[in-house]
């Protein structure tokens, strides 16, 4: 793991205690992210992708949530160890976050201008009102909001969904963070607006060199803007690789299943192959591979032992027993 990693997550575990028992939401996640890179975390609802990103921001409410194990190294500092005060000076300045729903992410009783400059005034105590406003207007320009001067004084309800998401992006970027976490940033938007926002992300990354963690379930969005992809299932990352590794050489049966279960606009008469069943209960996750119950290739070992980590190429890694030499041999024999 090189020094050029801006973020490195090692063996992260997050649990939530509830009356019904302890939910093991994230169970040993490893991630790394370079400068200027976009990493997409893909997975279904409840797989732990949002919990992972909230843990990086240290936004897991404690209690009930707790980071029980692991390290989150942001430029060498372990974020799981720093004080809340220190963390407050990192949030917004070094790492920023965008949430799914732009309708609820903004305060309806404050003007856009107040909300945009809030971060600046918070983190740079001696910035003048005028300077803050100038900076905010500049950000509004970057996120391509027309009539910035006029819009600055307006309230969120006067903005459409797409425009609100632009405001939220501007808010996240105003202190020039190095890492942006976007949790389903376009899910609440219409496709034509989604296309506008995705283009905007690309332009911003080109301009500022920011690193992005994109959390999504939409494989189309991933194909468009991600560099690398991590596929998550039941609190674990089951496969990581470059965009091409994942789309053209998927190895994990879950990744393959995901790719086969979405229809493609450009193909005709394809049959969808859904993944049967539902994800496991994270109160008592299976000891072995969590995908066993839904996996068409499941073997006896899968249920008992979590698969070893296999590095296929420099970029492509997978956790699956099918990569084991013995399984490969048997499969080859059966194929004959």
């Amino acid at each position: 793991m090189g020094k050029d990693n801006i973020l490195q997550v090692k063996d992260l575990h997050v649990t939530f205690s509830t009356y019904g028992g302890t939910v093991k939401a994230v169970r040993g996640v490893h991630l790394h992210l370079k400068k200027r890179e976009t990493l997409a975390i893909v997975g279904e609802s409840g797989c732990g992708k949002s919990v992972t990103s909230n843990a990086i921001m240290r936004l897991i409410p404690n209690p009930p949530g707790k980071i029980t194990k692991g390290q989150i190294l942001f430029k060498g500092t372990d974020l799981t160890k720093v004080s809340e005060k220190k963390m407050r000076s990192i949030r917004g300045v070094d790492i920023s976050m965008i949430f799914q729903d732009p309708m609820t992410a903004l305060n309806p009783t404050l003007t856009i201008g107040t909300q945009l400059t809030e971060g600046l005034r918070q983190h740079h105590k001696n910035i003048s009102r005028q300077n803050a406003k100038e900076k905010a207007l500049e950000m509004m320009e970057i996120v391509e909001i027309p009539n910035a001067m006029e819009r600055f004084k307006q309230y969120p309800h006067q903005f459409s969904g797409g425009m609100r998401q632009r405001i939220v992006i501007a808010m996240a970027l105003i202190c020039e963070p190095e890492l942006l976490i976007a949790d389903e940033p376009t899910t609440a938007l219409d496709v034509t607006i989604q296309a506008q926002i995705l283009e905007l992300f690309e332009r911003i990354q080109e301009k500022t060199g920011i690193s992005i963690i994109l959390i999504t379930h939409d494989l189309g969005v991933v194909a468009k803007i991600a560099d690398r992809i991590a596929v998550m299932y039941a609190g674990k990352i089951v496969e990581t690789g470059t965009k091409r590794d994942i789309f053209y050489h998927p190895q994990h049966p879950y990744t393959k299943g995901l790719l086969h279960s979405v229809p493609r606009l450009d193909l005709e008469g394809e049959t969808l192959e859904p993944i049967e069943g539902t994800p496991p209960d994270l109160f008592s996750p299976p000891k072995g591979c969590p995908f066993t119950a839904r996996c068409p290739y499941a073997m006896e070992v899968c249920n008992k032992v979590f698969p070893v980590h296999t590095k296929l190429t420099k970029s492509h890694e997978v956790n699956c027993w099918l990569q084991d030499e013995r399984a490969k041999q048997t499969l080859a024999e059966v194929a004959k």
Partner: protein, 334 residues
């Protein structure tokens, strides 16, 4: 081709906002659905696609126009006719968490329509039908005594489908039936709907915003924008040969899960956002975002015409075929 099962003619649905202001949710829409086909209705949020579905069902009173189902106007039915109409047409809703009563067991939920219509004299017969339906939708009879909260989203949607099938309808309106579900589960439900259609010869009106899924399941697709149908044709033709600028932009905006394709594609990025349906633009409603808008678009509303066989479009770019008499002409000023 089979006969036209459902005909929607110049349907309008305006919501009265008071002070003489109206929200034109559906404004002059004409299309028909053939027996046994799946007709997809796509469009972005607020384009009026759900309102059309609900107006066809009779859940909303229409403002103008007609909805003809099996040769009868749905909004003019007598009481007895209404009962039989509702046996023939059923609906599947978007949110499987909100559309099932949490205080009823699955058996009660599925049996409710049968009780309303007094289909069975004996409880045993009714229960047998419930079991049969549960198995048809891929659940099992042990599930009958459980409550909705015990099921996952995909399973709940299956319960919703079983309820819609309880009266053996011919026509099902599915309003965003999969958009609340996870990707891997969406495919399960879509395949289930397809199989049921094959087995029972159902006709579907499939309303959704996800064009890739609509294209996958539908025979023909209608594209809506701000209360108007802008284009309607067979689903393959819509992708291969889109005519309306909005359809083109919509198709190009949808990301394809294939990185190489994504790099090569040219995108038409639409400027701006959807105008308000309370005060829609004059003439063509799309002109404010249209990359090829002309002067005439401001003045005149384009007519709904059949440009090629079974390919309808409402756009001034395709106006020049004078000798061609459009089969359906709408666009009358109210």
């Amino acid at each position: 081709m089979n006969g036209k099962m459902l005909q929607v003619r110049q349907l309008k649905k305006y919501f009265n906002l008071g002070k003489d202001r109206y929200l034109k949710a559906v404004d002059d829409v004409t299309f028909h659905v053939y027996q046994g086909e799946t007709f997809g209705l796509v469009g972005e949020s607020g384009c009026g696609k759900s309102t059309i579905g609900r107006t066809i069902m009779g859940l909303y009173h229409k403002t103008a126009g007609e909805v003809i189902f099996n040769d009868k106007d749905v909004h003019q039915l007598k009481k007895e006719e209404k009962t039989s109409f509702h046996r023939q047409m059923q609906m599947i809703f978007q949110d499987p968490y909100a559309s099932l009563n949490p205080r009823l067991t699955v058996r009660e939920i599925i049996a409710e329509p049968m009780e309303v219509h007094q289909l069975y004299r004996y409880k045993q017969e009714q229960n047998d039908k419930v079991f049969e339906l549960l198995e048809e939708v891929g659940l099992n009879r042990d599930h009958a005594n459980r409550y909705p909260h015990e099921f996952s989203g995909g399973q709940r949607q299956r319960i919703g489908i079983a309820r819609a099938l309880a009266l053996d309808p011919e026509f099902i309106i599915a309003d965003e039936p999969i958009s609340a579900l996870d990707v891997s589960v969406q495919a399960q439900v879509v395949n289930l709907l397809k199989n049921l259609q094959k087995e029972k010869g159902l006709t579907f009106l499939f309303i959704a915003h996800d064009l890739s899924m609509v294209k996958h399941i539908s025979d023909r697709i209608g594209v809506m924008y701000l209360g108007n149908l802008v284009e309607l044709t067979a689903s393959n033709a819509l992708y291969d040969n889109p005519l309306h600028p909005y359809t083109k932009a919509l198709l190009s905006a949808i990301p394809i899960p294939d990185p190489d394709m994504e790099e090569k594609r040219e995108r038409i990025i639409l400027e701006g956002e959807l105008p308000s349906p309370i005060d829609p633009p004059s003439g063509c409603v799309f002109r404010t975002r249209c990359p090829v808008a002309m002067d005439i678009c401001k003045i005149e509303k384009p007519t709904w015409q059949e440009i090629e066989q079974n390919h309808f479009v409402a756009c001034h770019l395709y106006k020049k075929q004078e000798q061609h008499t459009p089969k359906v002409t709408i666009g009358m000023k109210k």
